[in-house]
């Protein structure tokens, strides 16, 4: 392994590497956003207060059962297997899905299953007083969620969402099994041509690291921004 050969691999393949990294990022970002939305939806559904014995609460129980089954399945099986089942399973019905779409679907469903638990935990951990204060001024459960509870939950699960993004950047490598042209697949292809396996993968390694490191730094900045300024503006006396 020499610097020279690394540079020459880069020189010949940099457009492929960049394209692979781009696809990896797209999959990770889309899936994290969609997965977070799935998680929010499930978390909210799971915490709707049930009124005894109404048809609505019966329906809700059924929906929540189905959602729980989904969560268990996706948390309890490897993503690489899910990718195969989803892509080839759907293909078996004569419908060939775009590989990129299939990839986003699998990673999103995976992320959603994990995020659902974070969101549910986040909702449950908000103190009772927040709900009561909102109810006491006449807000509905839905209004309470939108204007009081979820903003706090979202802030609290932001670090977990950031972690999930970083995991997705790395774990999307397994999608090479359905031939999505993300960074790992591209690297495999390059290595199979030049036989310089170590050098070729080392480049990919550095690229993954750059992506995950940048993502975590950007997220930290974003969190700080959300928290607003440390100081508030004391309103001066109005001069009449």
């Amino acid at each position: 392994m020499s610097l020279e050969s690394i540079l020459s691999i880069l020189e010949q393949n940099w457009p492929s590497y960049l394209k692979g990294a781009y696809i990896t990022l797209l999959i990770a970002i889309f899936s994290t956003i969609i997965g977070a939305l799935i998680g929010l939806f499930i978390g909210v559904m799971h915490t709707i207060p049930l009124r005894e014995k109404s048809f609505k609460s019966f329906l809700l129980k059924i929906v929540n059962f189905i959602l729980s089954v989904y969560v268990e399945i996706f948390r309890g099986t490897p993503m690489i297997v899910q990718a195969m089942v989803v892509f080839y399973g759907i293909a078996a019905y004569g419908f060939v899905m775009d590989r990129f779409v299939a990839a986003v679907l699998v990673v999103s469903l995976n992320t959603g299953a994990y995020m659902a638990e974070y969101v549910r935990g986040g909702i449950v951990s908000i103190e009772k007083g927040q709900y009561e204060a909102a109810e006491a001024i006449g807000m509905s459960h839905f209004q309470t969620m939108i204007h009081v509870i979820l903003p706090q939950v979202i802030r609290n699960i932001l670090p977990a969402t950031g972690n999930q993004l970083i995991m997705n950047i790395k774990d999307s490598a397994v999608l090479s099994v359905i031939s999505v042209t993300e960074l790992f697949f591209v690297t495999q292809t390059i290595a199979s041509i030049n036989y310089k396996t170590a050098e070729t993968y080392l480049i990919a390694c550095v690229m993954y690291l750059i992506m995950t490191f940048t993502a975590s730094q950007l997220l930290r900045l974003f969190e700080k921004k959300l928290d607003g300024p440390k100081d508030y503006n004391f309103q001066p006396e109005k001069s009449a």
């Binding site: 103190e127 007083g129 927040q130 009561e132 204060a133 909102a134 109810e135 006491a136 001024i137 006449g138 807000m139 509905s140 209004q143 204007h147 009081v148 903003p151 706090q152 802030r155 607003g228 508030y232 503006n233 004391f234 309103q235 001066p236």
Partner: protein, 244 residues
């Protein structure tokens, strides 16, 4: 006098624990009623039944002539008529001071942003917190939080204000600023129902004192009677313990 709240034979149990037993009492328009009694006697539960944060297990609550326990009664609308102040403030952590006082007006009463903000500022000024409009709850002291919570309740323009031990969670040096605001509200003729352990304050502002023990109302009357010359042994004992 015109009764705003009229409670008849109210019962409330948690499981097989009877917390309120055959409670009868009323609040008239413009009246300031202080509810006293030892810990666990059911004061909070009574207050929370009035705005249906707890569902009574029996009896009637007549609000301006309507039974709010009626199945078809609009609970959310009912709650907008009552301003609730909690012991633990419960300001919305995700909103600044102004937004805390605006969000209910906008989302529940459907007021315009401008109307809601000017109304909020009016009450924030009354409680002396108008200079803190952009502060987050986490940046305020306990006394300041409670004053904002009072403004938030007032901004909904309720008919009755309910206070559940508004100063019990405060450091002693902050109790005064909150009581001062409440004194002013009482003087301005607001209808108020206050659960409190501040006997001096109660003596001063209350038109009527209600003493509760073990889920029943033992004695009620003007402060000069209940606090100075109580008739029941249980009241005497309670006062001896708290005033000593």
């Amino acid at each position: 006098m015109e009764k705003v709240i009229d409670i008849r034979h109210l019962n409330k149990s948690f499981g097989n624990h009877e917390v309120l037993r055959d409670v009868n009492f009323s609040v008239a328009k413009g009246e300031v009623v202080c509810l006293i009694g030892s810990s666990g006697s059911g004061k909070s539960t009574l207050l929370r039944c009035i705005n249906l944060l707890e569902t009574p297990t029996g009896g009637e609550i007549i609000y301006n002539g309507e039974n709010i326990l009626d199945k078809n009664h609009d609970i959310r609308k009912h709650r907008t008529h009552l301003g609730m102040v909690f012991q633990s403030f419960n300001l919305f952590n995700n909103h600044n001071v102004l937004k805390n006082c605006v969000v209910g007006q906008q989302k529940v009463l459907k007021r315009s942003k401008q109307e809601a903000e000017s109304n909020a500022l009016k009450y924030l000024e009354i409680v002396g917190m108008d200079k803190y409009v952009s502060a987050k709850p986490s940046q305020l002291s306990g006394g300041q939080k409670q004053r904002v919570a009072i403004a938030r309740a007032l901004a909904m323009d309720p008919d009755v204000m309910l206070f559940d031990e508004p100063t019990s969670a405060l450091d002693p040096e902050m109790v005064g600023e909150v009581l001062k605001v409440m004194r002013r509200l009482a003087e301005e003729g607001n209808t108020m129902l206050i659960v409190t352990h501040e006997m001096e304050f109660a003596k001063e502002v209350a038109d009527r004192i209600v003493f509760m023990d073990k889920g029943v109302i033992v004695e009620e009357g003007p402060p000069s009677q209940v606090l100075v010359n109580p008739q029941h042994d249980r009241t005497k004992e309670f006062l001896k313990r708290t005033l000593k």
